[in-house]
Amino acid sequence: MEIEFQRVGKKYESGHDALSQVSFHLRQGEMAFLTGHSGAGKSTLMKLIMMIERQTTGTILVDGVDLRTLGKHAIPYHRRRVGVVFQNHQLLFDRSVFHNVALPLQVSGADDGQTGKRVRAALDKVGLLGKEKLNPMALSGGEQQRIGIARAVVNKPQLLLADEPTGNLDPRLSAEIMNLFQEFNRVGVTVMVASHDLALVARMRHRVLTLNQGRMVNDGGFA
């Protein structure tokens, strides 16, 4: 999937300009990091792509389609093509790991046989195949994070968005998870990861987009 921002601005109802004049182009199959201080607008940018928030100025093109042309009824179908790992929409603790990961498939109406296969494949990718029957409560923080990733990729999305996916993990686990994203990117998925961890970002040698006070101040690679 291909994302293009053309001088996008987002002003919240409070009057705060979370983003202003943001332009960039993320090509099909590309991987990029999004960094910036706390409050720079990273999460806001990802919410705009997910249509959780709508931009106040500028144009966002996803695969060439202007998101403003999509009505309310198109939003769920748009979201099904994007896998997301957001901090505050984590797992549901009233059901097993399997059913957490299966949720995107159920929502889009996959049949049971296909669901089982896809869920196990996704859990296998994040190394949690043996734990599908457990309640996520019984897993460690790192494992829970990986379940979230499995849920994000189970639908074979064309774009993967991750907002601070390594938030409270130790360096080794963080690196592991970043490697996971890299693997998905290798099979053609467009990936965008927001992260504070500049050292880790630098080591990954991918394109880095940096926001400062809602403006894009750096768009370049560490390579």
Binding site: G64, V65, P76, Y77, R79, R81, L92
Partner: protein, 340 residues
């Protein structure tokens, strides 16, 4: 209906290509409606929502019982009304229209009117009661012999007792009243009286009772709507996180709504079921004194309760109320739960 395999896969390839090339057509439009999938999902929801209901047995039972009680009141009144109607329907009685003729009328004129009336299609027979017969009858029954004998002249008019063909009940009452009005308009008739006043009064009471039942039913249906709505709203609120995650992974509002509608359906059906049981038990409880009471007046009457058709109707109505109540409560609520 089998298609050649190559053709099918070509069509599928076409569909996938279309789904991916969002430039020509948004992906969401390319998805066709799959009826089998729809049915399968509904079945799964039906079971899942019942399991959820049973997962909170006490809270669910309270809601269901409130619904059942609210529904059994109009249901019970309905049964009562049905029985009153059936009693009067079986109360086969010949009615009489008494025609009091003008007193200056000659006997021959009165007789010819009597013949004329008895040849009418809606009249069974006409009984001619002369002034003398009337006087004798009056003396026997009233105990006013002395007073009557002091009068210089017989004050009683000639009376024609017209017996209509129709048996009087609530259905034929309007026809009989029309006949009475017609006879009243004859020039020879001073006064025409239909001796079915008790029936008229009953008819008025029944139509009053019907309106009463409708009003009570309407109020209680609204109460049930509110109860179901409130219960479902609370269920949505307690599953807010789940609703948000579902929205995030691309669930449509109607998909999120469905398990809650099914919850409303179950509340309605179970409430209706218990209401039916309440009514059956209640009518069983009152049946023997009621039958004794009615036998005093009329033999061979059997108290009627809810029959199978009425039970099914009750369940259907309560299911519709349940689904509608939750739909009203949930639609807005789910739309208003927004990702942030």
């Amino acid at each position: 209906m089998a298609r050649p395999p190559q053709q099918r896969s070509a069509a599928q390839r076409g569909a996938t290509r279309q789904a991916h090339s969002a430039k020509q057509k948004p992906a969401w439009r390319a998805q066709g409606f799959d009826f089998k999938l729809y049915l399968r999902q509904h079945q799964a929801f039906l079971i899942e929502s019942l399991t959820r209901l049973l997962g909170h047995p006490l809270a669910s039972a309270m809601t269901i019982m409130v619904i059942a009680i609210s529904l059994s009141l109009p249901g019970g009144l309905f049964v009562l009304l049905k029985n009153v109607q059936s009693v009067t329907d079986r109360w086969e009685q010949q009615s009489v229209i008494s025609l009091y003729l003008f007193s200056q009328l000659e006997d021959t004129e009165a007789l010819s009117l009597s013949h004329q009336l008895s040849s009418r299609a809606d009249v069974l027979s006409v009984e001619y009661i002369s002034k003398e017969e009337g006087l004798r009858y009056f003396e026997q029954s009233s105990g006013y012999e002395q007073i009557m004998s002091t009068l210089p002249e017989n004050p009683l008019p000639i009376v024609l007792k017209v017996i209509p063909k129709a048996i009087v009940d609530l259905n034929t009452l309007p026809d009989l009243q029309a006949l009475r009005d017609h006879l009243q308009s004859l020039p020879q008739v001073e006064y025409a009286q239909l001796d079915a006043e008790w029936l008229q009064r009953l008819a008025t009471m029944i139509s009053f009772g019907e309106r009463f039942v409708y009003a009570i039913s309407a109020l209680l249906v609204i109460a049930v709507l509110l109860i179901v709505g409130n219960t479902i709203r609370m269920a949505v609120e307690s599953r807010r996180d789940e609703v948000l995650v579902m929205k995030l992974v691309g669930a449509t509002n109607s998909y999120i709504r469905r398990p809650f509608l099914y919850m409303g359906f179950w509340f309605g059906v179970l409430g209706g079921l218990f209401a039916s049981i309440c009514i059956l038990m209640l009518s069983w409880w009152v049946s023997s004194p009621a039958e004794q009471l009615i036998e005093l007046y009329h033999a061979g009457f059997e108290l009627q309760s809810f029959n199978a058709v009425e039970i099914i109707m009750c369940l259907t109505i309560s299911a519709v109320i349940g689904v509608f109540g939750s739909w009203v409560a949930v639609s807005r609520h789910i739309r208003d739960i927004e990702l942030q």
